[in-house]
Amino acid sequence: MSKAIEGEAFENPLPSSDVGDWVEDGSIEDNASLSLPDLAEDIFFHRRLIPLSDCEPNVRCEMIAQIAETSLSSTLPGGLAGPLRYDRFIARRFSLDISLIKDRYIHLGFRARPDRGVLLKSVQRVFESSLRATLENGLPQETLDAILLRLKNDLDGVLERDRPGYNHRLAWGRLRLGKTIFSLSDQQKALLDIRSNDVNRFLKALSKPDRALKRSVFAQGSAETEKDLSK
C-alpha cells in the first residue's frame, strides 16, 4: 500500500516526444493592440517562450520553476505584486504562470487588469521594468528563504490520509500534459536540494532572447481605449 504511493513505484508511461520542429528558431516580438466587444475591462497579456537551459528537465527543475513563479507573484522584495498592486495602484489583478513545455522551453505567461484610470501601457511598462530588474539582479535571499520554507510547509502539511489523493491529482495533472510523473515524496526530496543560486540561474535564463507575444486588449467603447488605439 505505502509502496504504491511512493515515487519509486511510478514509471513514465509516455516517451518524451520530439518537438524540435514545433517552434521556429530565433527570437521574435509580436506586439499588438485590439479592441473587443462584450469585454468588461481592458486586459494586458504577455506570453514568452524561452529555450530551456541550465536546468535538467525533471522534478527538481519543475520545483525551481514553481519557486520562481511563486516568488515573482509575491509581494516580497523582487516579486511583481509590490510594484504592480501594493506600492502603487497599477494592476487591480494579475496572474503569472511559469511552466516547462515539453522539456524544451520555459513558458512565461502574464495577464493583468489595470486599476481605475490606469492605461494598459502603464501596466505593461511597470511589469516589464520590474521583471527585468528581478531577472538581472536575482531574487533577494530573504525572499527565497521565505518561499522555500512556505513550499516545504505546504508539502509537509499534506495529511497522511490525503496523500493518495494528492498524488492522484499530481499524476493526473501531469499526464494530461503528457509530462513525466512524480510524487509528493519526489517533490519533498527535490526541494531539500534546491539552493537560491539554482533559482536565480533559472531566472537569468528568462532574460535570454526569446519569442514574445504581447497583446493589449481593450474593452470597446471606453475613452481611454480609443485614445490608446489611435496612436
Binding site: 468588461a40 475591462e41 516580497l76 487591480r92 521565505a146 505546504d154 499534506v158 497522511e160
Partner: protein, 187 residues
C-alpha cells in the same frame, strides 16, 4: 464584535487541547463557551501529517445579517466590505505586510457573504494561534476601508458583474426569475 472575537479565541484554545485526539469517526460535539455561546467542535485526526506534525485549526463563525432583506440597502455593499476588510491592512501594518504575515504562517482567512449571514473561515497551524487570532481580530474590529482599496474592489466586482451579464446563461436566469418571482426586469 470584540465579544465574538474573545469567543473565537476561546474556541480556538479549546480546539488546541483536543486537536490531537485520534478520532476516526470525526464526531462533532456541541458545547458552550463560558459566555453561553453555542459552538460545534470536531477534532480531526490531524497528528499524522506526512513529515512533521503540523496541526491545523480551522474556526468557522457565522454572523447573522439582514442587509439583503432591506430594500433600501445597496446589495453590493457586503461584498465590497468583506474584501476591503481582508485586503486593506491594519492601523500599524500595510496591506502587503498583512498578506505576508498570513502567508508566512501558512494561514488563510476568508469572509463569505450569504443572504442572511456572513461566514468567516480562518485556518492556521496550532503554534501560530495567538498571532493569527490577534491579527484577525485587528482586521475585523478595526477595518481600515482605505478608499483606494475600496475603489479597486468595487471595480473588480463591477467588472465581474458586467462580464457575467453578457453571458446567455445569466440572461436566461434573469428571465426565469422574472417569470417566477416577477421582481425585476431582465438586464
Amino acid at each position: 464584535m470584540s465579544r465574538i472575537l474573545r469567543v473565537i479565541a476561546l474556541i480556538a484554545s479549546m480546539t488546541l487541547l483536543a486537536s490531537c485526539t485520534d478520532d476516526p469517526e470525526r464526531e462533532a460535539v456541541s458545547a458552550k463557551t463560558p459566555q453561553g455561546l453555542p459552538f460545534h467542535f470536531m477534532p480531526i485526526d490531524s497528528c499524522r501529517s506526512t513529515s512533521r506534525g503540523i496541526d491545523k485549526i480551522t474556526i468557522m463563525s457565522a454572523w447573522p445579517m439582514h442587509w439583503a432583506y432591506r430594500a433600501n440597502n445597496n446589495p453590493a455593499v457586503p461584498y465590497v466590505a468583506a474584501d476591503s476588510i481582508l485586503s486593506g491592512g491594519t492601523e500599524e501594518l500595510e496591506a502587503q505586510e498583512v498578506l505576508e504575515f498570513f502567508n508566512d504562517r501558512d494561514s488563510r482567512g476568508r469572509l463569505y457573504i450569504r443572504a442572511d449571514h456572513v461566514i468567516g473561515k480562518l485556518t492556521f497551524p496550532r503554534e501560530d494561534l495567538e498571532g493569527v487570532v490577534s491579527m484577525t481580530s485587528e482586521l475585523l474590529s478595526k477595518p481600515q476601508f482605505d478608499p483606494a482599496w475600496v475603489e479597486r474592489i468595487k471595480k473588480g466586482l463591477s467588472a465581474n458583474q458586467t462580464q457575467s451579464q453578457a453571458k446567455i446563461a445569466y440572461r436566461m436566469h434573469a428571465v426565469a426569475r422574472l417569470a417566477v418571482l416577477g421582481d425585476g426586469p431582465p438586464r
